[in-house]
Amino acid sequence: MMLAGYAVGAAKGFIYIRGEYALSIERLEKAITQARLYGLLGENILESGFSFDLAVMKGAGAYVCGEETALIESLEGKRGHPRNKPPYPVTEGLWGKPTVVNNVETLANVPEIIRNGAAWYRGYGTDKCPGTKVYTIIGNVATPGLIEAEMGTTLRDIIYEYAGGIKEGKKFKGALVGGAAGAFMGPEMLDAKMDFVNLKEYAAVLGSGAILVMDESTDIVGMLQSVLHFFKHESCGHCVPCRLGTKQLVEIVDRIAGGKGKVEDIESLVKISEVMRDTSFCPLGQSLNLPISSSLKYFRDEVYGRVQQPA
C-alpha cells in the first residue's frame, strides 16, 4: 500500500476490513503500530521526503461494502450504498478526492514484482494471463485452506494436488468458483485451465478466488438457496431489480426446495436474474445471474427433477 501511495502521490491509505474478522484487525493494527515505530509509516519515511500513513477501518457487517463506491461511502461514515458512476473513484472518491481502490491480493503482488522485475512475474502463469492467483479452497475437500498457484493451473490439480482431494473419498460433484456469486462448474470442467481469460470463455469468473468444492451428496438446489438467501440479506435496497429481484428469487427457490415448484418457476429464476444482470445498480445484483445460469448448465437435470412435472 505504501508503494501504491508513493506511485499515485497519496498521503493516506485505508484498510477496510470486515468487522467479523476480529483477529485480522488486531494483527493489522499491531503491524501498523510497529511500522510506525520503525519509521516505515508517518512523516518523511526513511528520510525519503515521502510521507504516508495507514488507518484500519472496521466494517460493520455489509457485504455490499466490497463494491468500491459503497466502501467509500462506508469510510465516510455513511450507509454503504453504491454511488453513481461516473464519476469514478479515481477522479472523485473519498471526500470527493481522487482515490485508488484495490484488493489486498493486487497490492500484495506489487513488492515482489518490483523486487524481481516484470519478466520474473511473467515467468509464471500463461502468456495471456501471467502471474499467480491466491485461492481459498473450501467445502468438501480433505485439506481446506489458502493456496497460491500459477495462473492456468487446472481445477483438478487445485483440488487433488493442493487440497488433498475430496473428503472421505467421495466423488467430486462440482464447485462454486469465484465467491458466492461465482459460477458453478461440473466434472466436465475439472481440466479447464483456471485463469481470467480462459474462464471467460466458459462464462465463468475467478472473482475472489474462492473455490467451494461439493461432493456427490451436495444438494444443488440447497446450494442455490444458500446463495440467494445470502444475496437477499446483503442487498443494500437502493435499486428495484436487486431489492425486489432477490426477494422473488428467494421465494421461488424456497418453493422449489420445498417440492412445490413448477417448471415456470425455473424459467422465472432465469428471467429475473437476467433483468438483475442488465439493470442492477451495482455488481452485487448484476452477478446473481451467474450462479443461476451455471447451475442450470451443469446440473440441469437435477434442478428440473425437483419441480412438479407438467401433467
Partner: protein
C-alpha cells in the same frame, strides 16, 4: 419478579455508562466521518445502541439523527435492542452451509429455545446468523462473542454454550 429486578439493575448500569460514552464522543467531536467507529465503541459499551446513546452521538458528531439511525439499521453489527450477555452467531455462508451449518443452527435454536434474532429470557444468550466470518477453512463455523469455533457438529453445541455464563 426476579426478571423485574434484573431489568432495573440493567438500567442502573446503563445510566452509569453514559459518561463513558461522552468521553468517546469528545474524541470524535464534530467528525461525522467517524460515525461507524463511534457506534462500534458505543455498542461495545452498552451491548446495543439505546436511543439516548444515538441522540448523543448525533449531537456530538454533528450529524442528523436520521443519519445515525440510517447507518445503524443498515449494518448488521448494530442493534437497537438489548442483547444477551453472550452473542452466539452461526455462519450460514455457502462454505459453512455446504458442510452442514443449517443443522448446527437448528440445534442452537432448539438448545436455546429461541429463534434467530432472539434473546433468551435470562439474557444469557442472543442468537444470530452471520454470512461468512472468514473461517471458511474451518467450516461449519460459529462465533460466541469473539471466539471462533470451527468444524462444529451439532452434538458439540451444549458443551460450547455451557462455557459462557
Amino acid at each position: 419478579m426476579s426478571q423485574e429486578k434484573q431489568c432495573q439493575c440493567a438500567e442502573v448500569q446503563e445510566e452509569e455508562l453514559y459518561p463513558r460514552l461522552e468521553e468517546v464522543i469528545t474524541e470524535h467531536r464534530g467528525k461525522g466521518q467517524d460515525l461507524i467507529m463511534v457506534l462500534h465503541k458505543a455498542q461495545n459499551l452498552f451491548g446495543y445502541l439505546p436511543r439516548k446513546a444515538q441522540e448523543m452521538v448525533a449531537e456530538g458528531l454533528n450529524v442528523s439523527l436520521n443519519e445515525v439511525y440510517g447507518v445503524i439499521t443498515f449494518y448488521n453489527f448494530f442493534s437497537t435492542v438489548p442483547q444477551g450477555r453472550n452473542s452466539v452467531k452461526v455462519c450460514l455462508g455457502t462454505a459453512c452451509y455446504v458442510r452442514g451449518s443449517q443443522e448446527v443452527l437448528d440445534k442452537a435454536q432448539k438448545e436455546l429455545g429461541i429463534k434467530v434474532g432472539g434473546t433468551t429470557e435470562d439474557r444469557r444468550y442472543s442468537l444470530d446468523v452471520v454470512r461468512c466470518i472468514g473461517a471458511c477453512g474451518l467450516a461449519p463455523a460459529m462465533l460466541v462473542n469473539e471466539d471462533v469455533y470451527g468444524r462444529v457438529k451439532s452434538p458439540h453445541l451444549p458443551d460450547i454454550l455451557a462455557k459462557y455464563e
